[in-house]
Symmetry: C2
DNA sequence: CGCGATCTCGGACACTTGTCAAGATTTTTT
DNA sequence: AAAAAATCTTGACAAGTGTCCGAGATCGCG
């Protein structure tokens, strides 16, 4: 038997959780603009339509808010990336799709990727996000490894490096491309595309 | 003819510059401990033997201090790395030396590398360090490219990717290894060594 | 409608921040 | 040794920070 109080609490919980998401999504945009070092609850609030008191009402403190934002980001991120594992029938097609996908992701939401790298670095200084960041990193690694395995299958070979190394290599290319993209280098996306296309064949024997 | 005033000014300049270096070196250690987001002039001063007013006497403001620290870091960095380009007579030796050198650099000063990555990310948010960071990045890239070329020569082949991509790939491996190292993964250094050794042959034809 | 629960705002608080300046101390010059 | 210049300390200031709270506004249900 579910009591009225329980139902009401659950309803409140749903509503509460919904509002939290709403605030976190707005805060995430502000965070992406500012970066961790320059983000205070007040400036975040100023960048949104909400008051700073409201943020404190829905989030215990600043760490709670940012942690929640990071988790929201993860959800958006894997969803976006997973649609990237397109259906391709030749190795070349897959390599192209992979390069195009990452280049598009770069140009589409550079500020979000910048924030991601920022938070990943911060996790090396503070252990508050460390767990969440590690989880995101691992899910990205798995996402990428699916691509490498698919490429190996299509080219009738086997991957010649670990999932960790494969992810590190792709991530290196992406981060460097992001740096150049934000510094105004026009060819950043094309360079990334080319880099990915040539990297993939190197990872299978 | 050099006037007395000129000489005195130069003497003062030397002394002044010397003291600046001294303060910056101490501040650099504090910065590496704290990270950019948590570093204030006062907390930096508390981590050293100097007063916060003294920092302000030798540096116009916080940005001036950090910029100077970054440049000091560069000097230490290229000096350290360049001794890494050891003399090797076979490709295998060079690959091993390269892997060992980077793994050692990782275990030797992980906090400095952490700071470097932090500042590189911050340069994507603020354009104050952007020039200095880009210069360091380029000098690191050149350092690494010398290794790749040397490896190509020894194995009687030619590099099959751009200096930018080569640097991005190595940097990706290193950064991921640093993340794991600081998270307490015991095998981080060995993994890095292995990753480097297997990456190098993939970059030449 | 009315009333209690929930939500929202804006201000108050204690504290930290960057910056600065007036004086104390040391070094250098005359 | 006196004067001048430099080095350094200490404390003050305004602005910004995280946190908390109380008074309205709004909502949901009897």
């Amino acid at each position: 038997m579910t009591s009225a109080a329980t139902v009401r609490r659950r309803a409140r919980g749903n509503k509460f959780e919904e509002r939290r998401r709403e605030l976190a999504d707005a805060a995430l945009l502000a965070l992406a603009d500012l970066g961790y070092a320059r983000a205070s609850l007040r400036t975040i609030a100023e960048h949104t339509e909400f008051s700073h008191g409201l943020l404190h009402y829905y989030f215990a403190d600043k760490i709670d808010l940012i942690t929640y934002c990071v988790q929201r980001y993860k959800a958006a991120c894997v969803q976006r990336y997973d649609s990237l594992v397109a259906e391709a029938s030749t190795p070349g097609q897959l390599a192209n799709a992979c390069g195009d996908g990452l280049a598009e992701a770069l140009g589409d939401a550079p500020l979000m990727h910048r924030l991601w790298y920022d938070l990943r670095i911060q996790s090396m200084f503070e252990d508050t996000f460390r767990k969440e960041v590690a989880e995101i990193d691992e899910s990205l690694q798995q996402m990428l490894w699916r691509n490498v395995r698919a490429y190996a299958d299509l080219s009738e070979g086997t991957p010649s490096c670990s999932p960790e190394d494969a992810y590190a290599l792709f991530d290196g290319l992406f981060q460097q491309a992001l740096l150049r993209y934000l510094a105004g280098t026009e060819t950043a996306q094309d360079d990334l595309r080319h880099g990915i296309r040539t990297l993939l064949p190197r990872l299978v024997d």
